[in-house]
Amino acid sequence: MSANSYLVLSAILFTIGTVGFLIRRNAIVAFMCVELMLNAANLSLVAFAHMHGALDGQIAAFFVMVVAAAEVVIGLAIIVTIFRTRRSASVDDANLLKF
């Protein structure tokens, strides 16, 4: 079985994630889109690893998962804190840190 369909799926997932990240205001949704992009990348890593018959890509995927897990912990904490102060999860409302 060729890696093609996996890569196509990965590209579709990544594009969905990117577009969602760019257009959605809700912080949780934007966050999930980021996760989607990471997982799309993981998918292509694993697909290439399988194609080459090597474990390097799979190991990299594990690293990405660990980083994503850590990111989720911090990101969710931030989102919850912002929600507590602003009563809103919209990323456009958290705009004080600017020029």
């Binding site: 760019l22 257009i23 934007a30 990323v91 456009d92 958290a94 705009n95 004080l96």
Partner: protein
């Protein structure tokens, strides 16, 4: 050109001579004590300050007698002290040279200096800063002794700068008067111009001979090129002009009269201003190689002797008349020194007699000022001979000496110079005789207006003779002025010859006591004419205006304005210099500052534009990141393809 005799190399110091450094150390330590102890030394500071030059004089006298005893070959004694600069191939030792020339200076500086110190005890008695005054005087004596005793141009330069500093401090001693403070700065600045010539000359010596010691310079002088010799000679002359107030660096001396009168007597008449003559004499080996520089010395001397006499005729301030005459007399010395081996001994001879009679007259002027409530205007004096008998008699001795009255000291020394000038060139000789006539005129004018004409005293002035502590130095100096020439005349030429490298042709016999020569008679006639004119114009029967009469004569106006020396300096140096600095300042403000400030402002504006990108909207950051990733990806892909 006459070849100079081989200069006798100095012999090593033994016995007493190895303590010659005490000459400098005693006044230096005394100055340090007086300066460091401060007010604690106020009560006895002047006594210690006077003791120091007297002690140095005793040492100097002992050394002099030793030299007198020894044979000609061992009359130059080198006293190496320590290795001063030792870098790579450079070895500059700090050492002293006690020889025929320097020992005479030592005696003049400490002898006349000691008398002036004694006089100052009385003159400065009511000044609250008297201790400080003596500290500075001691500093001056130490520096001046270092200047004349150095065996090396670089060590000499240390003394040279030391006397400049002391001169600055003492001219500005009453610095609460703005005129004194300005005069001190002026003296300092004008001297810097001369010092520049001096220091470049020393660098040139180090480059040419690899050493600045007199021994090496004298030995190497014959082997250097004519151009080098000329440049070196002219640079040394520039240094000498600055220190000795010779044209064109003469303008500071008249203003320097703002200092207390003993300072004018010691520094600006008897010793420091003659350092230029000493320098030229000491550098005889260099000037022997360069007729151009020697001629320049002669011209400078001649111009200055006439300029000084001119100024002396026009001034009404007693000290400024004397200052003009100092310039003029140093001009005579320079003229003699420029003539070469034939004139060196006469230059030093006149320097010594001048030291006596000019110090005598300056101190006499101080005594007159003391009596007249510090008034310096000749037009407010008159008929002081009866009120100040001792001052009058001593001043008269100095007066007779300076105009060259027969058998007074100036008669011998000035006649030698005039005779030597005639040997050199008739023009120079005639100008020197003319100078002698003008000298007789203005000194007679000074004498008449001060002591003999009618009373023109201001209200509330009650002249009284000065105390003994001031009159005794006057009497001793007057004796020196009267007999100094007679004593030294037949001796000084032979004494100095080995030190100044060359025999004056015909020895120093002419004009001796009985010999009558044409030039001597001519000089006497011109002097008599000068005196007669002064008596006609300012005689006892003439009325002298209390206010300076307005004059339209350009000669008088030029004299009253110091021959426009200041105006010339301002036009030639000060204004172009100020225009240049103004231009540079404008360029700095308008060009460089604008560029720097403009660049900073541009970057600031640019960054405030860039700051707008930081707009606080997460999604626009996200777009930026995606765009960035897209660009990076595109570059990578295109790179692969390419």
């Amino acid at each position: 050109m006459q070849l100079p005799l081989e200069v006798v190399p100095p012999v090593a110091a033994t016995g007493l001579f190895s303590y010659a450094w005490l000459l400098i150390a005693i006044p230096a330590v005394s100055a340090a004590i007086l300066l460091l102890l401060g007010r604690a030394a106020d009560a006895w500071g002047h006594l210690l300050g006077t003791l120091a030059p007297v002690a140095a004089f005793v040492i100097g006298l002992v050394l002099f007698l030793r030299l007198l005893d020894s044979d000609v070959g061992s009359r130059a004694v080198g006293v190496p002290l320590y290795d001063w600069v030792s870098v790579g191939s450079w070895h500059i030792g700090a050492g002293l040279l006690v020889d025929q020339l320097s020992i005479l200076f030592v005696l003049l500086i400490t002898g006349v200096g000691g008398l002036i110190h004694v006089y100052s005890i009385g003159y400065m008695a009511s000044d609250p800063k008297r201790r400080l005054f003596f500290a500075y005087l001691n500093l001056f004596v130490a520096s001046m002794l270092l200047l004349v005793l150095a065996d090396n141009y670089l060590v000499l330069f240390v003394g040279w700068e030391g006397v400049g500093l002391a001169s600055y401090l003492l001219i500005g001693f009453w610095q609460h008067r703005p005129s004194a403070a300005t005069a001190a700065k002026k003296a300092f600045v004008v001297n810097r111009v001369g010092d520049m010539g001096m220091s470049i000359a020393i660098m040139l010596m180090l480059a040419t001979f690899g050493s600045s010691a007199f021994v090496d310079v004298n030995a190497g002088a014959g082997r250097m090129g004519g151009t080098t010799a000329t440049v070196m000679g002219l640079l040394l002359l520039l240094g000498a002009c600055g220190k000795s107030a010779q044209v064109p660096l003469q303008s500071w001396l008249l203003d320097a009269m703002e200092g207390p009168t003993p300072v004018s007597a010691l520094i600006h008449a008897a010793t420091m201003v003659t350092a230029g003559v000493y320098l030229v004499t000491r550098s005889h080996a260099i000037f022997a190689e360069t007729p151009t520089a020697s001629l320049a010395v002669v011209i400078v001397g001649t111009v200055t002797l006439l300029a000084g006499a001119w100024i002396g005729c026009a001034k009404d301030d007693i000290k400024k008349v004397l200052a003009g005459s100092t310039m003029s007399q140093i001009g005579y010395m320079m003229l003699a020194a420029g003539i070469g081996p034939a004139g060196y001994a006469f230059a030093i001879f006149h320097l010594l007699t001048h030291g006596f009679f000019k110090a005598d007259m300056f101190l006499g002027a101080g005594s007159v000022m003391h009596a007249m409530n510090d008034d310096v205007n000749l037009r407010h004096y008159g008929a002081l001979a009866r009120a100040l008998p001792i001052t009058f008699v001593t001043f008269a001795a100095g007066y007779l000496a300076i105009i060259g009255f027969p058998f007074f000291s100036g008669y011998y020394s000035k006649d030698h110079i005039i005779a030597a000038a005639f040997d050199d060139s008739v023009t120079i000789g005639l100008l020197a005789v003319l100078g002698a006539g003008i000298t007789a005129f203005y000194m007679t004018r000074l004498m008449l207006m001060t002591f003999l004409s009618r009373k023109r005293w201001l209200d509330g002035v009650h002249p009284h003779e000065s105390p003994l502590v001031m009159t005794i130095p006057l009497i001793l100096l007057a004796i020196g002025s009267a007999v100094g020439g007679l004593v030294l005349n037949n001796w000084i030429g032979d004494w100095l010859t080995p030190a100044v490298g060359g025999a004056p042709p015909g020895g120093t016999e002419a004009p001796s006591l009985v010999e009558i020569n044409l030039i001597g008679i001519l000089t006497l006639i011109v002097v008599a004419i000068g005196v007669a004119i002064a008596v006609l114009v300012f005689g006892p029967r003439r009325t002298i205006a209390i206010e300076q009469p307005a004059s339209r004569s350009p000669l008088t106006l030029a004299g009253r304005n110091d021959l426009y020396g200041d105006a010339l300096n301002e036009t030639v140096f000060m204004r172009p210099g100020r225009a240049l600095t103004d231009g540079l300042a404008a360029f700095d403000n308008g060009g460089i500052d604008e560029a720097v400030v403009g660049t900073a402002a541009g970057i600031g504006q640019l960054s405030s534009r860039l700051r707008r990108w930081q707009n606080g909207f997460v999604r626009s950051y996200a777009l930026t990141m995606v765009a960035g990733v897209a660009v990076v990806g595109a570059v990578l892909v295109l790179g692969r393809l390419g």
